[in-house]
Subunit: 134 residues, 2 copies
Amino acid sequence: MTNKFPQRSHCPINYALESFGDKWTLLIIRDLMFNDKQSYGDFLASGEKISTNILADRLKRLEELGIVTKGAQAPNRSKVAYSLTQKGRDLLPIMLEITRWSGKYDADTYASRSFLMRLEQDRDKLIAAIRAGW
Amino acid sequence: MTNKFPQRSHCPINYALESFGDKWTLLIIRDLMFNDKQSYGDFLASGEKISTNILADRLKRLEELGIVTKGAQAPNRSKVAYSLTQKGRDLLPIMLEITRWSGKYDADTYASRSFLMRLEQDRDKLIAAIRAGW
DNA sequence: CTGTATCCTTAGGGATACTG
DNA sequence: CAGTATCCCTAAGGATACAG
């Protein structure tokens, strides 16, 4: 069978790029991981103003990659709850290092100083929790 | 003055995405950081087959962002040596976490088991070195 | 060798209307 | 509310030729 996700190379950096190397995917993961968002409407409401077609496309792709799962919605509710899989939660260390880097170099970042300090303190604890499976 | 790099938001994840959130930039950084590459031709020769216009564009952008510097080439040589700035070297922890994640989830990645084990052992040492300024 | 320039094609994505 | 569907435009990118 032909692979749905052909790779340009078998480099680990490249694998990551082909998983979430675009301008939108990581924002969805951020919302799931840090912002307690889980519904289509939640993601749409984020500050970067993702459009509906892009959001639907990325959610589908994230599901196919096994990073996100579409939660079993309650029968009579039209709310759909997305959540991170283990593979998705395992992105936490990357997200923390990114936050730390941006916090150092982006004067305008809204990761406040107190948030960054807390991040430093909780980092190992958070990562250990992730590795244990949460 | 109008900013050359308008931001969609002031989120740290978004800052990173707007710095290197595309399919090529991180490959150049990888080549500089791990593969002892430093010339235009070196980058062109990498497995993912970046094209000349894209490479030139990304190098320029990386310079503007202060992640890469164009080395002072020797007078009579046409070789140009690019290298990472401190801001660029500070991406190491992110790169290591990405490598670790891909090593866990990409069956085809060429980060061999032995490389990943070495990464685990040397990780803190490498990061400490980066923080000290190399 | 280090790029520029050009041509051309495709993919990404904004806006908005619409459907179950 | 959670998507689909369209329309349309721009940015991204491959190929290749050329220049300093």
